[in-house]
Symmetry: C2
Subunit: 242 residues, 2 copies
Protein backbone atom coordinates (compact mmCIF):
# COMPACT_ATOMS: atom_id res chain seq x y z
CA UNK A 1 0.00 0.00 0.00
CA UNK A 2 1.47 3.28 -1.13
CA UNK A 3 0.46 6.11 1.22
CA UNK A 4 0.35 9.63 -0.20
CA UNK A 5 -0.29 12.63 2.05
CA UNK A 6 -0.91 16.23 1.12
CA UNK A 7 -0.43 18.22 4.31
CA UNK A 8 -1.82 21.74 4.66
CA UNK A 9 1.03 23.64 6.29
CA UNK A 10 0.39 27.09 7.70
CA UNK A 11 3.62 27.45 9.63
CA UNK A 12 1.76 27.12 12.94
CA UNK A 13 2.05 24.73 15.85
CA UNK A 14 -0.87 22.50 14.85
CA UNK A 15 -0.05 21.87 11.17
CA UNK A 16 3.65 21.40 11.98
CA UNK A 17 2.78 18.69 14.49
CA UNK A 18 0.45 17.10 11.92
CA UNK A 19 3.19 17.04 9.25
CA UNK A 20 5.61 15.37 11.67
CA UNK A 21 2.83 12.92 12.60
CA UNK A 22 2.21 11.93 8.95
CA UNK A 23 5.92 11.36 8.36
CA UNK A 24 6.16 9.20 11.48
CA UNK A 25 3.17 7.14 10.25
CA UNK A 26 5.02 6.33 7.04
CA UNK A 27 3.22 8.57 4.57
CA UNK A 28 4.99 10.06 1.57
CA UNK A 29 4.38 13.72 2.37
CA UNK A 30 3.98 16.79 0.20
CA UNK A 31 3.15 20.14 1.77
CA UNK A 32 0.86 22.91 0.59
CA UNK A 33 0.91 26.42 2.01
CA UNK A 34 -1.82 28.75 0.77
CA UNK A 35 -1.42 32.51 0.87
CA UNK A 36 -5.06 33.64 0.87
CA UNK A 37 -4.72 37.37 1.26
CA UNK A 38 -4.25 37.32 5.02
CA UNK A 39 -3.02 40.60 6.40
CA UNK A 40 0.53 39.40 6.96
CA UNK A 41 2.76 36.82 5.31
CA UNK A 42 4.88 36.01 8.34
CA UNK A 43 3.31 32.57 8.66
CA UNK A 44 4.27 31.66 5.08
CA UNK A 45 7.93 32.18 5.95
CA UNK A 46 7.43 29.87 8.92
CA UNK A 47 5.82 27.21 6.72
CA UNK A 48 8.83 27.27 4.41
CA UNK A 49 11.25 26.91 7.33
CA UNK A 50 9.23 24.06 8.85
CA UNK A 51 9.00 22.17 5.53
CA UNK A 52 12.75 22.54 5.00
CA UNK A 53 13.44 21.25 8.53
CA UNK A 54 11.17 18.23 7.93
CA UNK A 55 12.52 17.55 4.43
CA UNK A 56 9.05 17.92 2.92
CA UNK A 57 8.61 19.43 -0.57
CA UNK A 58 6.38 22.48 -0.14
CA UNK A 59 4.19 24.14 -2.76
CA UNK A 60 3.31 27.73 -1.89
CA UNK A 61 0.12 28.80 -3.68
CA UNK A 62 -0.81 32.43 -4.21
CA UNK A 63 -4.54 32.54 -3.60
CA UNK A 64 -4.67 36.20 -2.64
CA UNK A 65 -7.89 36.48 -4.62
CA UNK A 66 -9.61 34.59 -1.80
CA UNK A 67 -9.15 37.44 0.65
CA UNK A 68 -10.91 39.72 -1.83
CA UNK A 69 -13.87 37.37 -2.14
CA UNK A 70 -14.12 36.48 1.53
CA UNK A 71 -13.45 39.97 2.83
CA UNK A 72 -15.76 39.84 5.85
CA UNK A 73 -13.05 38.80 8.35
CA UNK A 74 -10.49 40.35 10.65
CA UNK A 75 -7.84 38.13 9.03
CA UNK A 76 -8.40 39.50 5.54
CA UNK A 77 -9.58 43.07 6.07
CA UNK A 78 -8.26 46.04 8.02
CA UNK A 79 -11.88 47.08 8.68
CA UNK A 80 -12.22 44.39 11.37
CA UNK A 81 -9.95 44.44 14.44
CA UNK A 82 -8.32 41.25 15.74
CA UNK A 83 -9.69 40.71 19.27
CA UNK A 84 -7.15 40.58 22.10
CA UNK A 85 -6.91 39.70 25.78
CA UNK A 86 -9.93 37.37 25.75
CA UNK A 87 -10.38 34.46 28.14
CA UNK A 88 -10.69 31.04 26.44
CA UNK A 89 -14.32 30.73 27.58
CA UNK A 90 -15.17 33.99 25.82
CA UNK A 91 -13.49 32.79 22.62
CA UNK A 92 -15.68 29.72 22.41
CA UNK A 93 -18.95 31.60 22.92
CA UNK A 94 -19.45 32.86 19.40
CA UNK A 95 -17.77 32.48 16.05
CA UNK A 96 -15.09 35.19 16.15
CA UNK A 97 -14.43 37.93 13.60
CA UNK A 98 -11.27 36.04 12.68
CA UNK A 99 -13.52 33.47 10.97
CA UNK A 100 -12.74 33.57 7.23
CA UNK A 101 -15.72 32.46 5.12
CA UNK A 102 -15.36 28.78 4.21
CA UNK A 103 -11.58 28.92 4.48
CA UNK A 104 -11.09 25.29 5.49
CA UNK A 105 -13.43 24.07 2.75
CA UNK A 106 -11.33 26.05 0.31
CA UNK A 107 -8.00 24.86 1.77
CA UNK A 108 -8.95 21.18 1.81
CA UNK A 109 -10.39 21.38 -1.72
CA UNK A 110 -7.19 22.93 -3.04
CA UNK A 111 -5.06 20.31 -1.27
CA UNK A 112 -7.31 17.53 -2.55
CA UNK A 113 -6.98 18.85 -6.10
CA UNK A 114 -3.20 18.77 -5.82
CA UNK A 115 -3.40 15.28 -4.34
CA UNK A 116 -5.75 14.08 -7.08
CA UNK A 117 -3.48 15.50 -9.76
CA UNK A 118 -0.55 13.64 -8.16
CA UNK A 119 -2.53 10.37 -8.03
CA UNK A 120 -3.85 10.69 -11.61
CA UNK A 121 -0.29 11.12 -12.81
CA UNK A 122 0.73 7.96 -10.91
CA UNK A 123 -2.16 5.98 -12.39
CA UNK A 124 -2.32 7.34 -15.94
CA UNK A 125 1.34 8.08 -16.58
CA UNK A 126 3.21 5.63 -14.35
CA UNK A 127 0.70 2.81 -14.66
CA UNK A 128 0.30 2.29 -10.90
CA UNK A 129 -2.65 0.09 -9.89
CA UNK A 130 -5.35 2.35 -8.32
CA UNK A 131 -6.16 -0.25 -5.65
CA UNK A 132 -2.60 0.06 -4.33
CA UNK A 133 -2.96 3.80 -3.66
CA UNK A 134 -3.94 5.38 -0.38
CA UNK A 135 -4.42 9.16 -0.49
CA UNK A 136 -5.29 11.67 2.21
CA UNK A 137 -5.27 15.36 2.93
CA UNK A 138 -3.91 16.09 6.41
CA UNK A 139 -5.24 19.11 8.29
CA UNK A 140 -4.31 20.64 11.62
CA UNK A 141 -7.92 21.32 12.54
CA UNK A 142 -8.82 21.11 16.19
CA UNK A 143 -12.29 20.89 17.69
CA UNK A 144 -11.34 21.26 21.36
CA UNK A 145 -9.51 24.57 21.66
CA UNK A 146 -11.21 25.61 18.47
CA UNK A 147 -12.52 29.00 19.58
CA UNK A 148 -15.80 28.55 17.77
CA UNK A 149 -14.87 27.85 14.14
CA UNK A 150 -17.58 25.74 12.47
CA UNK A 151 -15.17 24.27 9.91
CA UNK A 152 -13.06 22.50 12.55
CA UNK A 153 -15.72 19.96 13.54
CA UNK A 154 -15.49 16.22 12.70
CA UNK A 155 -18.93 16.11 11.03
CA UNK A 156 -17.84 18.85 8.66
CA UNK A 157 -14.85 16.80 7.50
CA UNK A 158 -16.99 13.67 7.09
CA UNK A 159 -19.33 15.61 4.80
CA UNK A 160 -16.40 17.00 2.85
CA UNK A 161 -14.88 13.53 2.33
CA UNK A 162 -18.13 12.50 0.64
CA UNK A 163 -17.91 15.53 -1.69
CA UNK A 164 -14.33 14.67 -2.61
CA UNK A 165 -15.30 11.10 -3.44
CA UNK A 166 -18.35 12.06 -5.54
CA UNK A 167 -16.76 15.05 -7.24
CA UNK A 168 -13.41 13.63 -8.29
CA UNK A 169 -12.26 11.42 -11.12
CA UNK A 170 -10.04 9.60 -8.62
CA UNK A 171 -13.04 8.64 -6.51
CA UNK A 172 -15.70 8.10 -9.15
CA UNK A 173 -13.65 6.46 -11.91
CA UNK A 174 -10.83 4.73 -10.02
CA UNK A 175 -12.47 4.05 -6.67
CA UNK A 176 -9.70 5.78 -4.72
CA UNK A 177 -11.18 7.93 -1.98
CA UNK A 178 -9.48 11.12 -0.87
CA UNK A 179 -9.42 10.83 2.90
CA UNK A 180 -9.22 13.75 5.28
CA UNK A 181 -6.98 13.02 8.25
CA UNK A 182 -7.21 15.35 11.23
CA UNK A 183 -5.03 13.54 13.76
CA UNK A 184 -5.14 16.28 16.41
CA UNK A 185 -8.82 17.17 16.08
CA UNK A 186 -9.70 15.83 19.55
CA UNK A 187 -6.50 16.83 21.37
CA UNK A 188 -6.21 19.75 23.77
CA UNK A 189 -3.58 22.35 22.97
CA UNK A 190 -1.39 20.91 25.73
CA UNK A 191 -1.69 17.44 24.18
CA UNK A 192 -0.72 18.85 20.80
CA UNK A 193 2.37 20.47 22.31
CA UNK A 194 3.33 17.21 24.02
CA UNK A 195 2.72 15.24 20.81
CA UNK A 196 4.79 17.69 18.75
CA UNK A 197 7.64 17.54 21.24
CA UNK A 198 7.54 13.73 21.29
CA UNK A 199 7.66 13.63 17.48
CA UNK A 200 10.61 16.01 17.40
CA UNK A 201 8.58 18.48 15.31
CA UNK A 202 10.42 21.78 14.68
CA UNK A 203 8.15 23.80 16.97
CA UNK A 204 10.85 26.48 17.36
CA UNK A 205 10.18 27.51 13.76
CA UNK A 206 6.40 27.84 14.09
CA UNK A 207 4.31 31.01 14.14
CA UNK A 208 0.79 31.21 15.57
CA UNK A 209 0.14 34.94 16.14
CA UNK A 210 -2.72 36.57 14.19
CA UNK A 211 -0.79 39.87 14.10
CA UNK A 212 2.20 40.39 11.85
CA UNK A 213 4.88 41.82 14.11
CA UNK A 214 8.53 40.77 14.47
CA UNK A 215 7.60 38.84 17.62
CA UNK A 216 4.24 37.31 18.64
CA UNK A 217 1.86 39.89 20.13
CA UNK A 218 1.02 37.67 23.10
CA UNK A 219 -2.57 38.94 23.38
CA UNK A 220 -4.55 37.65 20.37
CA UNK A 221 -6.69 34.50 20.76
CA UNK A 222 -4.09 32.39 18.98
CA UNK A 223 -1.15 33.59 21.13
CA UNK A 224 -3.17 33.08 24.31
CA UNK A 225 -4.24 29.54 23.39
CA UNK A 226 -0.67 28.65 22.46
CA UNK A 227 0.77 30.04 25.69
CA UNK A 228 -1.83 28.18 27.77
CA UNK A 229 -1.04 24.94 25.90
CA UNK A 230 2.71 25.15 26.48
CA UNK A 231 2.15 26.09 30.12
CA UNK A 232 -0.21 23.17 30.71
CA UNK A 233 2.20 20.78 28.97
CA UNK A 234 4.99 22.07 31.18
CA UNK A 235 7.15 22.96 28.19
CA UNK A 236 8.83 26.29 27.44
CA UNK A 237 7.76 27.65 24.05
CA UNK A 238 10.90 27.27 21.92
CA UNK A 239 9.71 29.95 19.47
CA UNK A 240 9.84 32.53 22.27
CA UNK A 241 13.16 31.31 23.60
CA UNK A 242 15.07 32.20 20.47
CA UNK B 1 -37.82 37.28 1.47
CA UNK B 2 -34.65 38.76 0.06
CA UNK B 3 -33.10 36.51 -2.59
CA UNK B 4 -29.35 36.77 -3.16
CA UNK B 5 -27.67 34.84 -5.97
CA UNK B 6 -24.00 34.40 -6.71
CA UNK B 7 -23.81 33.12 -10.28
CA UNK B 8 -20.68 31.40 -11.56
CA UNK B 9 -20.21 32.93 -15.01
CA UNK B 10 -17.76 31.35 -17.42
CA UNK B 11 -18.83 33.22 -20.53
CA UNK B 12 -20.36 30.04 -21.98
CA UNK B 13 -23.83 29.14 -23.16
CA UNK B 14 -24.84 27.28 -19.99
CA UNK B 15 -23.83 29.82 -17.33
CA UNK B 16 -25.20 32.70 -19.40
CA UNK B 17 -28.59 30.99 -19.59
CA UNK B 18 -28.44 30.34 -15.83
CA UNK B 19 -27.68 34.01 -15.08
CA UNK B 20 -30.64 35.12 -17.19
CA UNK B 21 -32.76 32.49 -15.44
CA UNK B 22 -31.84 33.78 -11.96
CA UNK B 23 -32.67 37.36 -12.96
CA UNK B 24 -36.02 36.27 -14.37
CA UNK B 25 -36.79 34.46 -11.09
CA UNK B 26 -36.32 37.68 -9.15
CA UNK B 27 -32.92 37.08 -7.55
CA UNK B 28 -30.53 39.92 -6.83
CA UNK B 29 -27.60 38.66 -8.89
CA UNK B 30 -23.87 39.06 -8.54
CA UNK B 31 -21.53 37.27 -10.94
CA UNK B 32 -18.20 35.58 -10.31
CA UNK B 33 -15.79 34.61 -13.07
CA UNK B 34 -12.77 32.59 -12.01
CA UNK B 35 -9.59 32.52 -14.05
CA UNK B 36 -8.02 29.26 -12.91
CA UNK B 37 -5.01 29.06 -15.16
CA UNK B 38 -6.86 27.66 -18.14
CA UNK B 39 -4.82 27.74 -21.32
CA UNK B 40 -6.68 30.70 -22.80
CA UNK B 41 -8.54 33.68 -21.37
CA UNK B 42 -11.00 34.13 -24.23
CA UNK B 43 -13.89 32.91 -22.07
CA UNK B 44 -13.17 35.57 -19.40
CA UNK B 45 -13.70 38.30 -22.01
CA UNK B 46 -17.01 36.66 -22.90
CA UNK B 47 -18.06 36.56 -19.24
CA UNK B 48 -17.42 40.29 -18.94
CA UNK B 49 -19.45 41.04 -22.06
CA UNK B 50 -22.32 38.81 -20.91
CA UNK B 51 -22.41 40.38 -17.43
CA UNK B 52 -22.44 43.87 -18.93
CA UNK B 53 -25.29 42.91 -21.26
CA UNK B 54 -27.31 41.50 -18.33
CA UNK B 55 -26.51 44.42 -16.01
CA UNK B 56 -24.92 42.07 -13.45
CA UNK B 57 -21.92 43.22 -11.36
CA UNK B 58 -19.10 40.77 -12.11
CA UNK B 59 -16.10 39.97 -9.93
CA UNK B 60 -13.21 38.44 -11.89
CA UNK B 61 -10.97 36.41 -9.58
CA UNK B 62 -7.41 35.50 -10.47
CA UNK B 63 -7.02 31.94 -9.26
CA UNK B 64 -4.23 31.02 -11.68
CA UNK B 65 -2.57 29.12 -8.83
CA UNK B 66 -5.25 26.45 -9.26
CA UNK B 67 -3.97 25.42 -12.68
CA UNK B 68 -0.56 24.85 -11.11
CA UNK B 69 -2.01 22.63 -8.39
CA UNK B 70 -4.44 20.75 -10.59
CA UNK B 71 -2.10 20.40 -13.54
CA UNK B 72 -3.23 16.96 -14.68
CA UNK B 73 -5.71 18.22 -17.31
CA UNK B 74 -5.81 19.22 -20.94
CA UNK B 75 -7.44 22.52 -19.90
CA UNK B 76 -4.55 23.57 -17.67
CA UNK B 77 -1.49 21.97 -19.25
CA UNK B 78 -0.02 21.90 -22.73
CA UNK B 79 1.17 18.35 -22.05
CA UNK B 80 -2.35 17.00 -22.62
CA UNK B 81 -4.07 17.52 -26.00
CA UNK B 82 -7.72 18.61 -26.18
CA UNK B 83 -9.60 15.78 -27.93
CA UNK B 84 -11.40 16.64 -31.15
CA UNK B 85 -13.90 15.17 -33.59
CA UNK B 86 -15.44 12.76 -31.08
CA UNK B 87 -19.00 11.50 -31.30
CA UNK B 88 -21.17 12.36 -28.25
CA UNK B 89 -21.37 8.67 -27.29
CA UNK B 90 -17.57 8.46 -27.11
CA UNK B 91 -17.44 11.58 -24.93
CA UNK B 92 -19.68 10.05 -22.30
CA UNK B 93 -17.75 6.80 -22.06
CA UNK B 94 -14.96 7.93 -19.79
CA UNK B 95 -14.03 11.03 -17.86
CA UNK B 96 -12.12 13.05 -20.47
CA UNK B 97 -8.66 14.58 -20.17
CA UNK B 98 -10.40 17.98 -20.03
CA UNK B 99 -11.49 17.06 -16.48
CA UNK B 100 -9.81 19.51 -14.08
CA UNK B 101 -9.33 18.01 -10.59
CA UNK B 102 -12.20 19.12 -8.32
CA UNK B 103 -12.78 22.27 -10.34
CA UNK B 104 -16.50 22.56 -9.60
CA UNK B 105 -15.93 21.93 -5.88
CA UNK B 106 -13.41 24.75 -5.96
CA UNK B 107 -15.64 27.06 -8.04
CA UNK B 108 -18.72 26.57 -5.87
CA UNK B 109 -16.71 26.98 -2.66
CA UNK B 110 -15.24 30.28 -3.89
CA UNK B 111 -18.68 31.52 -4.94
CA UNK B 112 -20.17 30.42 -1.63
CA UNK B 113 -17.43 32.29 0.27
CA UNK B 114 -18.23 35.47 -1.65
CA UNK B 115 -21.92 34.92 -1.01
CA UNK B 116 -21.35 34.28 2.70
CA UNK B 117 -19.23 37.41 2.99
CA UNK B 118 -22.05 39.38 1.32
CA UNK B 119 -24.66 37.90 3.70
CA UNK B 120 -22.52 38.42 6.83
CA UNK B 121 -22.16 42.09 5.88
CA UNK B 122 -25.94 42.36 5.50
CA UNK B 123 -26.54 40.73 8.89
CA UNK B 124 -23.69 42.14 10.98
CA UNK B 125 -23.32 45.59 9.42
CA UNK B 126 -26.78 46.40 8.04
CA UNK B 127 -28.72 44.61 10.78
CA UNK B 128 -30.84 42.53 8.39
CA UNK B 129 -32.77 39.67 10.03
CA UNK B 130 -31.09 36.34 9.03
CA UNK B 131 -34.46 34.62 8.62
CA UNK B 132 -35.35 37.07 5.86
CA UNK B 133 -32.34 36.08 3.74
CA UNK B 134 -32.30 33.51 0.98
CA UNK B 135 -28.88 32.78 -0.52
CA UNK B 136 -27.80 30.48 -3.33
CA UNK B 137 -24.91 29.81 -5.64
CA UNK B 138 -26.09 29.27 -9.22
CA UNK B 139 -24.12 26.92 -11.46
CA UNK B 140 -24.46 26.00 -15.12
CA UNK B 141 -23.72 22.34 -14.47
CA UNK B 142 -25.43 19.84 -16.68
CA UNK B 143 -25.77 16.11 -16.10
CA UNK B 144 -27.29 15.16 -19.45
CA UNK B 145 -24.81 16.29 -22.10
CA UNK B 146 -22.16 16.22 -19.43
CA UNK B 147 -19.52 14.22 -21.27
CA UNK B 148 -18.54 12.30 -18.17
CA UNK B 149 -17.64 14.89 -15.55
CA UNK B 150 -18.30 13.52 -12.05
CA UNK B 151 -18.79 16.99 -10.54
CA UNK B 152 -21.86 17.75 -12.64
CA UNK B 153 -24.14 15.18 -10.94
CA UNK B 154 -27.06 16.13 -8.67
CA UNK B 155 -25.85 13.94 -5.77
CA UNK B 156 -22.53 15.76 -5.78
CA UNK B 157 -24.25 19.12 -5.33
CA UNK B 158 -26.46 17.74 -2.56
CA UNK B 159 -23.35 16.60 -0.67
CA UNK B 160 -21.69 19.96 -1.22
CA UNK B 161 -24.73 21.86 0.12
CA UNK B 162 -24.33 19.93 3.36
CA UNK B 163 -20.66 20.94 3.57
CA UNK B 164 -21.54 24.60 3.02
CA UNK B 165 -24.12 24.49 5.80
CA UNK B 166 -21.84 22.72 8.31
CA UNK B 167 -18.70 24.64 7.43
CA UNK B 168 -19.99 28.20 7.34
CA UNK B 169 -20.79 30.77 10.01
CA UNK B 170 -23.87 31.70 7.96
CA UNK B 171 -25.23 28.16 8.22
CA UNK B 172 -24.06 27.15 11.67
CA UNK B 173 -24.54 30.40 13.60
CA UNK B 174 -27.36 32.12 11.70
CA UNK B 175 -29.24 29.16 10.26
CA UNK B 176 -29.06 30.50 6.71
CA UNK B 177 -28.21 27.70 4.30
CA UNK B 178 -26.21 28.34 1.17
CA UNK B 179 -28.20 26.62 -1.54
CA UNK B 180 -26.79 25.39 -4.82
CA UNK B 181 -29.13 25.99 -7.73
CA UNK B 182 -28.42 24.14 -10.95
CA UNK B 183 -31.52 25.01 -13.00
CA UNK B 184 -30.34 23.40 -16.23
CA UNK B 185 -28.83 20.25 -14.72
CA UNK B 186 -31.46 17.95 -16.26
CA UNK B 187 -31.92 19.79 -19.58
CA UNK B 188 -30.54 18.62 -22.90
CA UNK B 189 -28.29 21.07 -24.75
CA UNK B 190 -31.19 21.76 -27.16
CA UNK B 191 -33.44 22.58 -24.20
CA UNK B 192 -30.81 24.91 -22.78
CA UNK B 193 -30.58 26.73 -26.11
CA UNK B 194 -34.37 27.06 -26.28
CA UNK B 195 -34.51 28.25 -22.63
CA UNK B 196 -31.75 30.81 -23.22
CA UNK B 197 -33.47 32.14 -26.34
CA UNK B 198 -36.82 32.38 -24.52
CA UNK B 199 -35.17 34.32 -21.67
CA UNK B 200 -33.51 36.71 -24.09
CA UNK B 201 -30.06 35.70 -22.78
CA UNK B 202 -27.19 37.29 -24.74
CA UNK B 203 -26.12 34.03 -26.38
CA UNK B 204 -24.41 35.95 -29.19
CA UNK B 205 -21.72 36.98 -26.67
CA UNK B 206 -20.98 33.48 -25.34
CA UNK B 207 -17.90 31.34 -25.93
CA UNK B 208 -17.84 27.55 -25.47
CA UNK B 209 -14.74 26.38 -27.38
CA UNK B 210 -11.98 24.67 -25.36
CA UNK B 211 -9.36 26.06 -27.77
CA UNK B 212 -8.33 29.70 -27.70
CA UNK B 213 -8.55 30.81 -31.32
CA UNK B 214 -10.18 33.93 -32.78
CA UNK B 215 -13.20 31.82 -33.78
CA UNK B 216 -14.47 28.54 -32.26
CA UNK B 217 -12.53 25.48 -33.51
CA UNK B 218 -15.71 23.55 -34.27
CA UNK B 219 -14.16 20.17 -33.44
CA UNK B 220 -13.59 20.00 -29.65
CA UNK B 221 -16.18 18.24 -27.46
CA UNK B 222 -17.62 21.56 -26.33
CA UNK B 223 -18.02 22.98 -29.85
CA UNK B 224 -19.62 19.74 -31.07
CA UNK B 225 -22.11 19.60 -28.18
CA UNK B 226 -23.02 23.24 -28.71
CA UNK B 227 -23.53 22.81 -32.47
CA UNK B 228 -25.70 19.73 -31.93
CA UNK B 229 -27.78 21.63 -29.36
CA UNK B 230 -28.47 24.59 -31.62
CA UNK B 231 -29.23 22.27 -34.54
CA UNK B 232 -31.69 20.21 -32.50
CA UNK B 233 -33.34 23.37 -31.16
CA UNK B 234 -33.70 24.66 -34.73
CA UNK B 235 -31.86 27.87 -33.90
CA UNK B 236 -28.88 29.38 -35.71
CA UNK B 237 -25.94 29.94 -33.31
CA UNK B 238 -25.79 33.73 -32.99
CA UNK B 239 -22.14 33.59 -31.89
CA UNK B 240 -21.21 32.14 -35.25
CA UNK B 241 -23.42 34.49 -37.22
CA UNK B 242 -21.50 37.59 -36.19
Amino acid sequence: MSKHALVLMSGGLDSTTVAAHALREGWEVRGLCIGYGQRHAREIDSAKAVAAALGVPLHVADAAFYGGLAAHSALTSEAHAVPSGRAPEAMAETIPVTYVPLRNTFFVTAAAAALESWMLARIEEEGIEPASLHAAVFVGANAIDYSGYPDCRPEFYEALERVLRLGSKLGSAYGVGIGIEAPIIRMSKAEIVAHGVALGAPLHLTWSCYAGGAVPCGTCDSCLLRAAGFAEAGVADPALAR
